[in-house]
């Protein structure tokens, strides 16, 4: 049971991120929601590489024994870098929006109504 806690944490993070994205009205809170979803998916990627009683996959002066898979850790690093770039772009767009609309309420930033 204790080995399932990371998966429960992943589900909780993604659901909290979706809740912040759908029900909160401040733009910064929506950006934080996307970051929460991204953290959840990164945690899921790292958890997949764990084997029972394994150590970090570094060869230099390792104490021996089974090592965790290194491939998911490489995938997670790529994903973290992409997440940083998207976060920087979103926050700079929020600054521009505040200059034009003078509010951060997403239900008032609706000039492009259909």
């Amino acid at each position: 049971m204790i080995y399932n806690i990371p998966y429960i944490a992943v589900a909780a993070l993604i659901l909290l991120g979706l809740y912040a994205l759908i029900f909160k009205r401040n733009l910064i809170k929506m950006v934080i929601g996307i970051t929460l979803i991204e953290s959840g998916v990164n945690l899921f990627l790292i958890t997949l590489g764990y084997r029972k009683d394994s150590i970090a996959p570094i060869y230099t002066s390792s104490p021996g024994g089974t090592m965790a898979f290194p491939v998911p850790q490489a995938l997670t690093l790529t994903s973290i870098v992409i997440g940083v770039a998207v976060l920087a772009l979103m926050l700079s767009l929020v600054v521009h929006i505040y200059r034009h609309y003078a509010t951060l309420d997403v239900s008032k930033i609706r000039r492009l109504k259909e």
């Binding site: 995938l75 992409i82 772009l89 767009l93 521009h96 609309y101 000039r111 492009l112």
Partner: protein, 517 residues
């Protein structure tokens, strides 16, 4: 002549190198930078056509990064190009070249143009990487590259409030979709310890977690392609971006549609014939769901286009309806997998991808020309422009007839394939498709009447025809449209048939990687 394998990697690497060199070149002169970008893209298009002539005659090519041969276990990233991939790459490279020729004159008075051209080259590299790759995580990385670059291009005119708002909505939706794609890729990796599409297709058994991954992949990639009811970002972003950027965005949206095709036909190819409850096979269930969403897309796209008063948003809603036609053809092909009319439906859907990309691009270029000449995009205020802008009017008439499916232009050639094959699945689908095609004609006749016909207004009595580079780019697309309309069978039997054969016969894709081991 045997083309070396590394041509596939050069197709993605040359725009990337050009993107890094563009800020340096632009310090010399503006004209030299424009010529440099056009030369890079023309070289890239030439390489794509060379690759296409080899693949359509000889078969699948692969390129392995970092090794000479494949050894087991497969950990290398591969680029695997079959006929469907090169079909999408041809469309993308033609549209980007046209957009850059158009933006020579269209964006001339803007500042910060070195960043604009850098972003266009990055977006090209991202799009071409998305369609040429054979690895699921690599697909996610190129998807994110293209969405970041296109968000920055949508919000390019930062002095207008609507553009920034559209850019923000685009990046929120886009990164949400990409994160769910990554979640599905992680699910598949955790079960089978493989990221390669061909290897996963060999190993897949249709367990419960595979079903969750299929649902997430299809819905997230369909949201990026613009299916109703998740389409609402599409009119916002197509309508507020500069018109030359919208042409490239159309091609990036179609690359996500290619992702849906690759997932359903190749990744889950072995699982498509398993039977679930009530003895229905999986492809019937997925196919009917896609057909239902496609019919709703067509109806809502056309009816919302009828009440718009902004030119760019109207064409964007027409683009939503046309994506519905593509999904209708593809969904009918999935439902009737294995029968003769299912193959024709798939042919129609794939042929419509190329036709619709060209038609919508021509209409957006015309909208950009009108904005350049009159600084006005609202249809309520435009009147009587056909007296001064004769060439633009002719190009708009060609685009109008093409997108509404009038013979003898290319829209009719693909739509008749869709009408006749979906009629045999259920007559209601063909009836809805034909009626909404007629409504689409009504929508664009409204634009023609209110913007081009009408009396001479003193405000617009001295608009001039647009500069030559914009006319040349519109002329190229119009001539391709007329050519495909008059000679449809050249395109279908040489480019579209191999693509749909490659999708249905996925075992050749798989055996290219797995067969030798």
């Amino acid at each position: 002549m045997n083309i070396p394998d590394y041509t596939i990697a050069m197709v993605v690497a040359i725009p990337l190198l050009g993107a890094f060199l563009t800020p340096l070149v632009s310090k010399i002169n503006d004209k030299i930078r424009n010529i440099f970008v056009i030369l890079v893209l023309a070289l890239n298009a030439g390489l794509v056509f060379l690759l296409a002539s080899e693949i359509l005659t000889k078969g699948i090519k692969t390129y392995i990064f970092g090794a000479k041969d494949l050894t087991f276990p497969i950990v290398r990233i591969l680029f695997e190009v079959d006929a469907m991939s090169i079909f999408m790459a041809i469309i993308s490279s033609i549209l980007v070249l046209i957009a850059v020729i158009y933006s020579w004159a269209f964006m001339k008075e803007n500042t910060g143009l070195d960043k604009y051209y850098t972003l266009i080259l990055l977006l090209t590299a991202g799009m071409l990487g998305m369609v040429l790759t054979g690895d699921m995580f690599n697909f996610f990385v190129f998807l994110e590259i293209s969405s970041i670059a296109s968000c920055a291009l949508i919000a390019f005119w930062t002095d207008v409030g609507e553009s920034v708002e559209a850019g923000f909505k685009y990046i929120v939706i886009s990164s949400m979709g990409a994160l769910f794609v990554l979640f599905a890729v992680a699910l598949l990796y955790g079960q089978y310890n493989a990221l390669n599409i061909a290897l996963l297709s060999n190993l897949i058994q249709y367990t419960f977690l595979d079903k969750i991954a299929l649902v997430l992949l299809i819905i997230a990639l369909a949201m990026k392609a613009g299916i109703v009811p998740m389409h609402m970002w599409l009119p916002d972003s197509y309508g507020s971006a500069p018109s030359s950027v919208t042409v490239i965005l159309v091609s990036a949206t179609l690359a996500s549609l290619y992702g849906v095709l690759r997932v359903i036909f190749t990744l889950y190819g072995n699982a498509l014939s398993t039977l679930i409850r009530f003895d229905i096979s999986v492809n019937v269930l997925i196919g009917w769901f896609i057909v239902a969403l496609a019919v709703i897309s067509i109806i809502i796209g056309v009816t919302m286009a009828l009440i718009q008063s902004d030119f760019n948003r109207l064409i964007a809603y027409g683009a939503v309806a046309e994506i519905g036609y593509m999904f209708l053809g593809i969904g009918a092909g999935i439902v009737a997998l294995g029968t003769a009319y299912g193959k024709i439906a798939l042919n129609g859907g794939i042929f419509h991808i190329m036709n619709d990309a060209l038609d919508v691009a021509l209409l957006f270029l015309v909208a950009g020309s009108i904005y350049y000449a009159t600084r006005e995009t609202s249809l309520d205020k435009l009147c009587g422009l056909a007296r001064n802008m004769k060439y633009t009017t002719v190009f708009f008439i060609i685009g109008l007839l093409a997108i509404a499916g009038m013979p003898p232009l290319n829209g009719f050639a693909s739509k008749i394939l869709i009408y006749e094959s979906t009629f045999q699945i259920n007559p209601i689908l063909a009836i809805v498709a034909i009626l909404c095609s007629i409504l689409l004609l009504a929508v664009f006749v409204k634009v023609f009447f209110s913007a081009f016909m009408g009396p001479k207004i003193s405000k617009y009595s001295d608009v001039k025809e647009v500069p030559k580079s914009m006319l040349i780019s519109m002329g190229i697309i119009a001539s391709i449209i007329v050519f495909i309309g008059l000679f449809p069978d050249i395109i279908i039997s040489n480019i579209v048939e191999p693509a749909s054969n490659a999708l249905i016969g996925y075992s050749e894709y798989v055996s290219q990687v797995v067969g030798g081991l």
